[in-house]
C-alpha cells in the first residue's frame, strides 16, 4: 500500500490507529501521581471532599505526547518506506528474473548496482514475487526464491574479473526453461556476441528492463616495451569529450611497501576511444613495477599487470683480459655486450664490487683464476640462485682450473690445452654444431649452417658429463655444459665469447642461446605454440575490483590456453608462473577494444540512479522512544519529582568537570620557543605532577623577581608525544611506579641531552640509599636512566660552576638538605686555572643533575605565591627554602649561560693580555 511517496510493508497494522481514541480516554482515566505539597492552609481544607470522583485530567499536551509516541510506534511497525520502488505500473505477481552481467566492467558501479539490486529485491519482497538471480559471468541453474533469501546473500556477491563469454551466455540462455517471468538486466554496458540471442530469449518470456550506467568505462591494455619506454594504451567504451586520465605505476618501494612509483597523464581526444602515452623509467624502477592502473577506476579492466617481459635482468660482464685496449672487436666482451645490451642491464666492474649488487647473471669471459675470497663469494651467490656463465679462452685453457678435480664453479673437468681444428696448422675442417637434443634448453633453435668452431676446450670424460652437456659439436664433443650449483647453475661455453675460436658469437644463434639461458629476457610475448605442454600456476589473480588475490589454490593452466583462451573461472586474469618465467594475463588483450552495448529500440533502458528507497521504521521508532523519554520527564515534572533546576545543573557540571593535567600540547611551538619554558616530566602520579608543576611555577616566579630570566608558565611534558627541543631544563621527579618510556621516547631524550638539554633527576627520598637500588625511587631511577646517554658522574665539586652561576652556594638543599648532588664528572686533566678559585671544568653544561632533595616541594607555590609545602622548621626552614630557590636560580642560569660563567675565570688574564 502506498500513501503519496510512502509505502507500507504491513499496512494492516495501521488499523490499530483506530484504537488511539480509546487510548486517549484510557490515559485520561489514569491519574497522575499525587504531588506532595507543604501548605499551611490545609487546615481550611480539612473535610472538603472532591465533588468529582474522576481524577484530574492529564494535561492535554502530555496526552498528545503519548498519543504521538503510540502513533509513531504503530506507524513504525507498519514498515513505512519512502519512495518505494514500484516500476511496474500495476503490481504483478509474476516471478522476476534479475540478470547480472557480473563482469569486471560491472565492478566500477558495483555499490550502486548492489543498492539498486537491493531496491529491486525489496520491492519484489513487498509484492510477494519470487526472484531468481542469474549472473552471466558464472551462470547457474535458475532458482526462484523469495526476495529476502536473495537479499541475505547480496552482501556476498562480487563481480567476476572476466566478462561473460559467448559460451556462458549460451549456457544461461539454455537454462531459462519455459516459465514466464519479468526480466531486469543489470548490464555492464559492453557489447558481446551472444547478447542479442539472450535478449531474445528473455523477451520471449516476459518484459525486459535494462539497467545500464551511462558513466564512461575506461580500461587499460597490456603495457608494451618499445625502445626502452613503456607504452601505455587506455581504451574507453564510448567516444566522448576530452578526458584526462592518470595512469599509475605501482610497485614495492625499497622497504617492500606498495607505492605509486610513477604516474603518467594521458588524454582521450574528443571522439577517440583510445589514448596512448609513453613512460620512461629507470631500469631499477621499472623492474619493480608490478602493475599499472588508471587512477580512480576500481575494476580489473583498469589494471594491467606486468610480468617478466618488462623486467630486464642485470648481467655483470667480467673479462679476464683487460689489457687489449684498442682492439674492440677482439675484446672478449664485445659480442656479449652487443647481444645483451638491448634486453639486459649490463654491469661492468670488478667482481668484488659487483657481487654485492646481486646481479642476476655473471658472465666470466676467459677468467681462469679467482682469489679465494672472490671464489667463495661467487659460489655463495651461485648457490643462492645466481646464473654463472663462463666462456673459455686461452687463459682458461692454459690454467689448471678444474684439471684434476672438478672445480666448484666449473661444470666439467677440462683437459689441458684444448684443441684446435681446421686451422692452418691442423687437420680437419672447423666443426659445426649438432642439433640440440630434446632436454637441452636450446631445443628447437634453428642451426645456421655458417657457424663453425675452430677451437675449444675439451671436457674430461666423466660419468656425469653426458648429463651436463646441453650443446654438442657435430663430432660429439661438448660445446656448452651446465651444472646446477645449489639453487643456481654454472654454464660453460667451451669457446671464447669473441670470434677468435668460433663464429658462434657472430650469429643470431648466440643471441637466442643467451635468451634461452634466460640471460636476456625475451621482449615479446611467447606464442601459444611455444607454451604447449607447459603448465602455468596462478600466483596472483585479479578480482573484479582489480585487487590482487592469492592464486595458489587455483588449478594450473595449460600453456597453450594461457595466451589466447578467453578469460573465465578456469583462466582468471592474473600472474602465472611457468617453468622459467612469469606471464601476466590481463583483462584486456593487446589488440582488444571496448565497444558499447547497443540495445534494440523495443527494450526499456534506464539508468542506475533513482529515488532512494528509505525505510522510515527506524526513524519512527526512535522518535517514539524520544517521545516516551520526554513523557517520563514531563510526568516527573508534573508530579514535582524532577530535580530542581539548580541541582540538575550542578549535577551536570559535576559530571562535566573532570580533573586534568595541563599538557604541553595545548601550547604551540611558537609560544614555547618565544620564551624560556621550564618543563617537568609527567610521571603519571597526579599529585606528584601537580607538585612538580607548582615547584616550577615557584622557581619561575623566583627567577622573574631576581633575575632577567622571565620564564613562561611551566608545562608538563609527555615524553612519548611532546617535542622536547623547546625546554632548556626538564625536571624529572622519580616515582617508584612511573612507567618506563618507550624506546622512541628514549631516542628523543638522548637527542635532547646531546643537543644541550638538561634533566634534573629528583628521587625525592633525601638520598637515603645513596643511589643504590635499596630505595624504591633510587632503583627506579637506575632503571629509567640506564638507556640514557649519561656521562660519568661525580658529586658536585666545591669549585663547580653550578656553585657560582648566580649565587655563591656550597650546598643544594630542597625539602631535604645536605645530600650530595651529582653532575657530570670533570675530565681527569682538568686543572686549576692559575690563581683562580676553581678549575676550568667541563666546557659544556652537565647534561644531568641527579639528587634526592625534593626541590620541587621546596619551590612549590600556589597561585597566590604562598609556599605549598613546609620546609624545615621556623626561620631555619625558611632559610633552607631560600637556599633551595637559589639553587634553582643557579641551575637555570647554568643551563642558559653554558660555560660563560666558567669562562669568567679567564677574564683577568684576557684583560691582562689586552693591556699589553
Amino acid at each position: 500500500m502506498t500513501l503519496g511517496p510512502i509505502g507500507f510493508a504491513a499496512p494492516w497494522l495501521l488499523v490499530t490507529l483506530a484504537l488511539l481514541p480509546i487510548l486517549w480516554v484510557l490515559l485520561r482515566a489514569v491519574p497522575p501521581a499525587p504531588v506532595r505539597r507543604r501548605f499551611p492552609g490545609v487546615a481550611l481544607l480539612l473535610g472538603l471532599r472532591d465533588e468529582d470522583s474522576v481524577t484530574d485530567r492529564t494535561p492535554w499536551w502530555l496526552l498528545l505526547l503519548r498519543m504521538l509516541a503510540v502513533s509513531a510506534v504503530i506507524v513504525g511497525m507498519a514498515g513505512p518506506v519512502l519512495n518505494p520502488r514500484n516500476d511496474g505500473a500495476e503490481a504483478t505477481r509474476d516471478p522476476l528474473l534479475i540478470a547480472l552481467d557480473g563482469s569486471w566492467a560491472s565492478a566500477r558501479d558495483w555499490p550502486v548496482k548492489r543498492t539498486l539490486l537491493d531496491g529491486i529485491l525489496a520491492e519484489a519482497g513487498r509484492d510477494g514475487r519470487t526472484v531468481a538471480l542469474l549472473t552471466l559471468a558464472a551462470p547457474e541453474p535458475l532458482q526462484f526464491q523469495t526476495a529476502e533469501t536473495w537479499r541475505s546473500r547480496l552482501a556476498g556477491m562480487q563481480p567476476a574479473a572476466w566478462a561473460p563469454s559467448d559460451q556462458m551466455m549460451e549456457t544461461a540462455g539454455a537454462q531459462l526453461g519455459d516459465a514466464t517471468f519479468e526480466t531486469r538486466w543489470l548490464s555492464d554496458g559492453l557489447e558481446r556476441a551472444g547478447r542479442d540471442r539472450l535478449l531474445d530469449a528473455f523477451q520471449a518470456r516476459g518484459d525486459v528492463t535494462i539497467y545500464e550506467s551511462s558513466a564512461p568505462l575506461l580500461a587499460l591494455a597490456p603495457v608494451q616495451m618499445s625502445d626502452g619506454a613503456l607504452e601505455l594504451t587506455a581504451q574507453r567504451a564510448r567516444p566522448g569529450n576530452t578526458r584526462d586520465i592518470t595512469v599509475q605505476a605501482l610497485g614495492p618501494d625499497p622497504a617492500g611497501v606498495m607505492r605509486v612509483l610513477a604516474t603518467l597523464g594521458m588524454t582521450f581526444q574528443p571522439g577517440q576511444t583510445e589514448a596512448t602515452g609513453a613512460l620512461t623509467l629507470p631500469a631499477e624502477l621499472r623492474a619493480r613495477v608490478t602493475r599499472f592502473q588508471i587512477a580512480g577506476q576500481d575494476h580489473a579492466g583498469a589494471v594491467s599487470l606486468t610480468d617478466d617481459s618488462l623486467k630486464r635482468r642485470e648481467v655483470a660482464l667480467i673479462a679476464g683480459r683487460e689489457d687489449r685496449e684498442g682492439l674492440e672487436l677482439l675484446s672478449p666482451l664485445h659480442y656479449l655486450e652487443r647481444a645483451l645490451a638491448p634486453s639486459a642491464d649490463l654491469l661492468n666492474g670488478a667482481l668484488a664490487d659487483i657481487l654485492p649488487a646481486s646481479p642476476n647473471v655473471i658472465v666470466l669471459a676467459d677468467v681462469a683464476t679467482l682469489s679465494l675470497a672472490e671464489k667463495s663469494a661467487l659460489l655463495k651467490w651461485t648457490q643462492n640462485g645466481g646464473l654463472l656463465v663462463r666462456f673459455a679462452g686461452p687463459r682458461l685453457a692454459a690454467s689448471d682450473v678444474s684439471r684434476t678435480t672438478e672445480d666448484a664453479l666449473m661444470p666439467v673437468r677440462l683437459r689441458a690445452g684444448g684443441r684446435t681444428v681446421g686451422g692452418a696448422m691442423s687437420w680437419g675442417a672447423p666443426k659445426s654444431l649438432a642439433p640440440f637434443s630434446e632436454n637441452s634448453p636450446f631445443f628447437g633453435l634453428p642451426l645456421p649452417p655458417d657457424v663453425t668452431i675452430s677451437a675449444q676446450v675439451m671436457a674430461q670424460p666423466d660419468p656425469t658429463l653426458a648429463d651436463r652437456v646441453i650443446a654438442h659439436l657435430s663430432d660429439g664433443t661438448p660445446l656448452v655444459t651446465r651444472k646446477p650449483v645449489g639453487q643456481g647453475q654454472v654454464v660453460l661455453f667451451h669457446v671464447t665469447a669473441n670470434a677468435e675460436w668460433s663464429s658462434l658469437p657472430l650469429s643470431g644463434l648466440f643471441v637466442q642461446m643467451l635468451e634461452r639461458l634466460a640471460i636476456s629476457a625475451a621482449a615479446d610475448l611467447p606464442q601459444a605454440d611455444d607454451l604447449a605442454g607447459t603448465t602455468w600456476q596462478p600466483v596472483q589473480v585479479l578480482d573484479g575490483f582489480g585487487t590482487l588475490q592469492d592464486g595458489g589454490t587455483l588449478p594450473g593452466v595449460a600453456g597453450e590456453t594461457l595466451i589466447d583462451a578467453p578469460l573465465g573461472p578456469r583462466l582468471q586474469p592474473g600472474l602465472y608462473a611457468g617453468p622459467d618465467r612469469r606471464l601476466a594475463r590481463n583483462v584486456l588483450g593487446v589488440g582488444d577494444a571496448l565497444s558499447p552495448a547497443v540495445w534494440p529500440s523495443d527494450v526499456t533502458v534506464t539508468g542506475l540512479t533513482r529515488a532512494m528507497e528509505t525505510p522510515l521504521a527506524g526513524w519512527l521508532l526512535a522518535a517514539a522512544l524520544l517521545l516516551l523519554g520526554a513523557d517520563v520527564i514531563a510526568a516527573l515534572a508534573l508530579s514535582g519529582r524532577l530535580l530542581p533546576t539548580r541541582a540538575a545543573v550542578g549535577l551536570i557540571a559535576l559530571l562535566l568537570v573532570t580533573p586534568h593535567v595541563s599538557e604541553a600540547q595545548a601550547t604551540t611551538a611558537e609560544t614555547l620557543s618565544a620564551e624560556v619554558t621550564l618543563a617537568h616530566v609527567i610521571t603519571g602520579d597526579a599529585q606528584l605532577d601537580e607538585m612538580a608543576q607548582a615547584g616550577l611555577r615557584g622557581l619561575g616566579e623566583t627567577l622573574f623577581y631576581r633575575t632577567t630570566v622571565e620564564p613562561a608558565p611551566p608545562v608538563a611534558v609527555n615524553l612519548e608525544t611532546d617535542e622536547l627541543a623547546f625546554y632548556p631544563l626538564l625536571y624529572w621527579p622519580i616515582h617508584a611506579d612511573q612507567p618506563t618510556p618507550s624506546a622512541n621516547a628514549y631516542a628523543k631524550l638522548n637527542q635532547y641531552l646531546r643537543t644541550g638539554g638538561m634533566i634534573l633527576f629528583d628521587t625525592r627520598d633525601a638520598d637515603i640509599a645513596a643511589y643504590s637500588a635499596s630505595s624504591p625511587n633510587g632503583a627506579r631511577l637506575q632503571q629509567l636512566a640506564s638507556p640514557l646517554d649519561i656521562p660519568p658522574l661525580e658529586p658536585v665539586p666545591s669549585d663547580h660552576v653550578l656553585t657560582r652561576t648566580f649565587y655563591l652556594l656550597q650546598d643544594f638543599p630542597g625539602r631535604y638538605a645536605g645530600r650530595p648532588v651529582w653532575v657530570e664528572a670533570a675530565p681527569p686533566d682538568a686543572e686549576r686555572a692559575e690563581g683562580m678559585p676553581f678549575r676550568n671544568l667541563n666546557d659544556g653544561v652537565t647534561p644531568v643533575v641527579v639528587g634526592g632533595n625534593d626541590w620541587a616541594a621546596a619551590w612549590a607555590v600556589d597561585t597566590r605565591g604562598i609556599p605549598m609545602y613546609p620546609v624545615g622548621r621556623g626561620y631555619a626552614g625558611e632559610r633552607q627554602r631560600e637556599m633551595a630557590n637559589r639553587f634553582g636560580v643557579n641551575l637555570v642560569m647554568h643551563v642558559l649561560t653554558g660555560n660563560y660563567k666558567s669562562d669568567q675565570v679567564h677574564v683577568p688574564a684576557l684583560l691582562d693580555r689586552l693591556g699589553q
Partner: protein
C-alpha cells in the same frame, strides 16, 4: 542563630525609622494607668497645664480656676494634660505554620510577622510606651534594652503546628497586638479575645498570609500537608477545591473581623508579597486609633 536577634532588630529599626514616633491612643483611663513622662496632648489627669476652657454645664464648681476667671468676666476651668504610659502587649505566632513561603523571593510569614511586630515595638518604645509580650516571658517595659529582649524572644520558634494566642498576663486596659496567620482553630482566638475584652484590653489582629494561601494556585492530584506534618489532606483535583477553599478563607477572615469588631479590636490581613511598611502603617494608624475600623 546568635546573630538573628541582632539582624532582626537592625531591620526593625530600619523599618521604624521611617515613621514619626507613634503614641498609642489611650482611650481608657483606669486604675492600671501609669503616668509616663510624655503628655497625651489632650486634657486629662497630669501635672502639666494643658489649657483653660470655659466652664460648661456639668462642671463642678470646684473645678473652676478662680485665678484665671478673675482676670475676665467668664469663668474658666483649668485642664491638665494627660500623662500616661500605655502598655502594649504583643503576641507573635511562632508556630510551624508561620514558617512557610511559597516562593524563595518571599519571606516566611513568621519573618514578616516578627518584623512588623518588632517595628511597632520600636516605634512604641520610642514614643515612650511600655511594650512587652503576652504571657510572662517579657513583661512590658520601656527602654532600648526591652527591644533587645523582645527581639531575642521573638526569634524563638514554636514547635506546634498552629499557634494559639497567649492571653495570659494581659494588663487590664492595655493594648494588645496579635500577629498570626489565624489559619488554625479559631476557638482559642475567640477565647483570648473574650478574655481580653473582659479586661478591657483593646487591640489589633494582624493576619499575615502568603499569596499562595490567598490564591490557591494548585492543580491536579495532590496531598497537602501542614508544615509540622500533623495534618494532611489528599485531593484528586486540587483546582476543584479552590473555590471552596477561598470561600472558607473568606469565612475565616469574616469571622475574625466580626470577632474583632465585637470586642472593639481591629483586624487586618497582610500578605507577605506586599511591603512590610504598608502593614506597619496600618498598625500605626490602628494603634493611634485614627480612622481604622
Amino acid at each position: 542563630m546568635t546573630d538573628a536577634p541582632v539582624i532582626l532588630r537592625s531591620r526593625a529599626e530600619a523599618e521604624a525609622a521611617r515613621f514619626p514616633p507613634l503614641l498609642a491612643r489611650a482611650e481608657q483611663l483606669a486604675g492600671s494607668v501609669l503616668l509616663g513622662e510624655h503628655g497625651r496632648r489632650r486634657s486629662g489627669m497630669g501635672d502639666d497645664f494643658w489649657q483653660y476652657r470655659p466652664v460648661q454645664e456639668g462642671d463642678q464648681r470646684r473645678m473652676i480656676d478662680w485665678r484665671r476667671s478673675a482676670r475676665s468676666d467668664a469663668e474658666f476651668v483649668r485642664e491638665r494634660e494627660w500623662q500616661i504610659a500605655q502598655s502594649v502587649l504583643l503576641w507573635v505566632d511562632g508556630a510551624a505554620s508561620m514558617r512557610f513561603s511559597s516562593n524563595k523571593a518571599l519571606p516566611e510569614k513568621a519573618d514578616r510577622a516578627r518584623l512588623i511586630a518588632l517595628a511597632a515595638a520600636v516605634l512604641l518604645i520610642r514614643g515612650g510606651e511600655r511594650v512587652g509580650l503576652t504571657g510572662s516571658a517579657v513583661p512590658p517595659r520601656r527602654g532600648q534594652a526591652q527591644i533587645m529582649r523582645l527581639a531575642t524572644v521573638l526569634t524563638q520558634d514554636d514547635a506546634q503546628d498552629y499557634g494559639v494566642p497567649e492571653a495570659r498576663g494581659m494588663l487590664p486596659h492595655s493594648r494588645a497586638v496579635f500577629v498570626s496567620d489565624f489559619l488554625g482553630d479559631v476557638a482559642p482566638v475567640r477565647a483570648a479575645l473574650a478574655k481580653a475584652a473582659d479586661r478591657g484590653v483593646r487591640g489589633v489582629l494582624l493576619q499575615i498570609l502568603d499569596p499562595d494561601e490567598e490564591a490557591f494556585p494548585f492543580r491536579g492530584r495532590a496531598i497537602f500537608q501542614s508544615i509540622g506534618g500533623t495534618l494532611a489532606h489528599e485531593t484528586l483535583k486540587a483546582n476543584d477545591l479552590r473555590d471552596r477553599y477561598l470561600q472558607r478563607l473568606a469565612d475565616r477572615k469574616a469571622e475574625l473581623a466580626t470577632l474583632a469588631s465585637a470586642v472593639g479590636w481591629h483586624f487586618h490581613t497582610h500578605h507577605t508579597s506586599n511591603s512590610a511598611q504598608s502593614a506597619l502603617l496600618w498598625l500605626y494608624r490602628a494603634l493611634s486609633g485614627g480612622g481604622v475600623r
